[in-house]
């Protein structure tokens, strides 16, 4: 049954972070309007940090997001450290990588378990699943709790982590605590396998839709890049992180309080799928196995497979965490004083920090004066970089769905948005209009 007229007005899409609207109007089979609209209140972070001290910026910008807090804090610290020429120890580097794994684990499990799974099981939320699928829900909670315990141990807490400071950590775990964490990671593997099996059984519910697009992520010759690396694009290859502006090119659209971005095409995609497409060969062994279970390999242009890419990354994060803890143990954990505060030599400079957070590549760019006061800041959020891609995907998807009911079209479009795991309130961090 072909829908001649379709009117979809999804106000404030549910099960996504932040507020976004979907507007679709089809008349007599012609798509007249297909819009991904972001009405979220602007937050003005880039204006707020101007005039504040180098020692405060990570605390302030952490508040851009409650879920990728660790990522924002790390990108912020990297920017400040780059601007002032501050380096961190090998040990702290490993601990920061563990922090990112913890964040990825927490965010992906939350997304897959709480936000996506209900769609695949045909319910409105995870709440009824507590009665109908108690074991699966308990497994999700167990994994989520382990991820939070990991973040608490390394960073102090998941949201607005206190231990992450310029130059290192205010407090580090003991070797005993790290060993306990390693055991928890090992215990998580059977749970992950159960989750993979569950998603495999539901994989057919994910639409088989592709639209060719560009993918951008960090890349590194040493590992599956999350903390460090160069910028890479599936279209144009590698570039140093400092030149990120040539990739991101943010601009205003009238339908959105969040900026859009584009590189060589009209849009590009960041996130787990982008990372997997670019860095597939660096995935851990078990992670690759899970990818193979779903036939997921580079370059995949189905945005719905971002969900599966997240699942693959969760397995990778757990395995890689075990590797990192082994390395820390073998090197011997260097103690540091309680209430550590590295001595920082303040100087003028500009630095860019780029980090892969669960939703994609994040940039923080700060300029400081000689007193260590921030004079300029720019943040490019992963979800900003995805907004254009979301709308173009919608525009390509809607015509293919016209033989379905309005409710089904709505659900597919919502699932499309959810697959990106958008973090909308982060993406409206600032609006500045330049009269062109």
């Amino acid at each position: 049954m072909k829908n001649d007229n379709v009117d979809i007005d999804v106000h404030h899409v549910t099960r996504v972070e932040g507020h976004g609207n979907i507007y679709v109007n089809v008349k007599k089979g012609i798509v007249e309007r297909c819009e991904w609209n972001v009405p979220e209140a602007p937050r003005f972070f880039e204006a707020m940090v101007v005039g504040r001290q180098w020692s405060e910026l990570h605390h302030i910008t952490s508040r851009i997001c409650g879920i990728c807090s660790i990522g924002h804090t790390l990108a912020s610290l990297k920017a400040t450290e780059s601007a002032m020429g501050i380096s961190i120890s090998e040990q702290d580097l490993k601990l920061r990588k563990l922090a990112l794994h913890g964040e990825n684990l927490q965010s992906h499990v939350l997304h897959l378990g709480f936000l996506v799974l209900p769609d695949l099981l045909g319910v409105g939320s995870v709440i009824p699943l507590a009665s109908s699928n108690p074991e699966e829900v308990k497994t999700v909670f167990r994994l989520h709790r382990t991820a939070n315990e990991m973040s608490n141990l390394i960073c102090g807490r998941t949201t607005h982590p206190q231990r992450l400071i310029p130059g290192g950590f205010s407090k580090i775990p003991s070797i005993k605590e790290l060993k306990d964490l390693r055991k928890k990671m090992q215990d998580a593997i059977p749970d992950l396998q159960a989750v993979a099996k569950l998603f495999k059984s539901l994989a057919s519910k994910l639409p088989d839709f592709t639209r060719e697009t560009e993918f951008i992520a960090l890349t590194s010759p040493d590992e599956y890049a999350l903390y460090d690396g160069q910028l890479a694009s599936t279209d144009t290859g590698k570039t140093p992180v400092n030149e990120y502006l040539s990739f991101t090119n943010e601009y205003i659209v009238p339908t959105s309080t969040a900026k859009w971005a584009k590189h060589v095409r009209d849009s590009y995609m960041v996130g787990a799928l982008a990372r997997l497409n670019i860095n597939y060969d660096k995935l851990s062994p078990l992670a690759k196995q899970v990818a193979e279970m779903f036939g997921l390999k580079p370059v995949c242009h189905n945005p719905f497979m971002n969900n599966i890419a997240q699942l693959v990354e969760v397995v990778h994060s757990v395995e890689d965490s075990i590797r990192l803890i082994n390395e820390l143990e073998n090197a011997g954990l260097q103690p540091q004083p309680d209430y550590n505060k590295p001595d920082i030599k303040v100087k003028a400079g500009r630095g860019v920090g780029a980090v892969e957070v669960p939703r994609g590549i994040l940039f923080h760019d700060y300029t400081y004066n000689a007193k260590g006061i921030c004079t300029k800041a720019n943040c490019v959020i992963p979800t900003n970089q995805n907004h254009a891609n979301i709308e173009l995907d919608m525009k390509a998807l809607v015509p293919k769905l016209l033989d379905k009911t309005q409710k089904e079209i709505e659900l597919s479009l919502e699932m499309l948005v959810r697959a990106y795991d958008p973090c909308i309130s982060c993406s409206t961090h600032y609006v500045k209009v330049n009269f062109v």
């Binding site: 404030h12 549910t14 099960r15 996504v16 972070e17 209140a41 602007p42 937050r43 003005f44 204006a47 707020m48 504040r52 405060e56 605390h59 302030i60 508040r63 851009i64 997001c65 409650g66 879920i67 807090s69 939350l110 709480f114 936000l115 209900p118 409105g124 939320s125 995870v126 709440i127 507590a130 829900v137 308990k138 909670f141 989520h144 709790r145 939070n148 102090g156 807490r157 998941t158 949201t159 607005h160 206190q162 231990r163 400071i165 950590f169 205010s170 205003i252 009238p254 309080t257 309680d338 209430y339 550590n340 505060k341 309130s425 982060c426 609006v431 500045k432 209009v433 330049n434 009269f435």
Partner: protein, 245 residues
């Protein structure tokens, strides 16, 4: 009859609602005591029939006021969760900047994007019955407030500063370590979590009811901070409470 509960968010990072999700298995126990009828991040269903509304985020636009007033009409009890909702939070930092400075480059059709005013806590717009302070909220404190509401009891929120908790936790005072802390005028209830993690208190829970601000500023200066920096420390979270509107 379990009370019906709904979650809403305004200008914020959603970190407080994440803490509710972070209750993990305790979330299931909580669901044994309340019925969640609206929680946009987590569920599709929505109902306007709720007894208790939890609101996160600041009110930063005139158009947000209507939404807040509607929630107040629907709910018997309104609880502000997180600093943005209870005191204006980090959003209030920008109240010190001229809004025009940001608006200066706005033209034409894009002007509507700048419908914004001084960031404010939600009790600047509607009456609030209970507060869960913090950036983010502490899960245990959130549960304490919920339990109090279920028991029909006024939640027990400290009126004393973070120093009390730091001393009980036997922390080395930030000032003794050459750092500067605003815990002396900040409301306790977080169990001095940030100092426990080796840093300082930034003031995210807001000023105590009767802070001796002058004394604290003198302390900051006595220990070596400049006057501007001392004042600057109070701007991070206390903007709205200090009258920056």
């Amino acid at each position: 009859m379990k009370p019906k509960v709904a979650f809403f968010d305004f200008a914020g990072c959603e970190g407080d609602q994440l803490q509710v999700a972070n209750l993990e298995e305790e979330l299931l126990t909580l669901l044994g005591q309340v019925e969640v009828v609206s929680f946009r991040e987590v569920m599709k269903e929505h109902s306007d029939n709720y007894d208790i509304a939890f609101i996160e985020g600041s009110c930063t636009r005139l158009q947000d006021e209507d939404r807040l007033k509607q929630i107040r009409k629907n709910a018997k009890i309104v609880v502000a969760i997180g600093s943005c909702a209870t005191i204006g939070g980090i959003n209030s930092l920008r109240n010190y900047k001229e809004l025009d400075e940001v608006r200066r480059t706005v033209y034409g059709e894009n002007a509507k994007l700048f419908d914004t005013y001084a960031a404010r806590p939600i009790d600047a717009v509607i009456t609030v019955d209970a507060y869960v302070h913090g950036c983010p909220i502490d899960r245990d404190e959130f549960l304490q407030v919920v339990k109090s509401l279920l028991l029909g009891k006024r939640p027990d929120i400290p009126t004393y500063p973070v120093c009390v908790e730091c001393k009980k936790n036997e922390n080395v005072c930030a000032f003794e370590r050459g750092q500067y802390c605003v815990g002396t005028v900040t409301r306790a209830g977080c169990n001095s979590c940030c100092v426990n993690q080796g840093t300082i208190c930034w003031g995210c829970r807001g000023l105590v009811d009767n802070p001796n601000e002058n004394s604290h500023k003198e302390v900051l200066i006595k220990f070596g901070l400049t006057v501007d920096d001392a004042i600057g420390k109070f701007k991070l979270y206390f903007g709205w409470q200090e009258g920056k509107r």
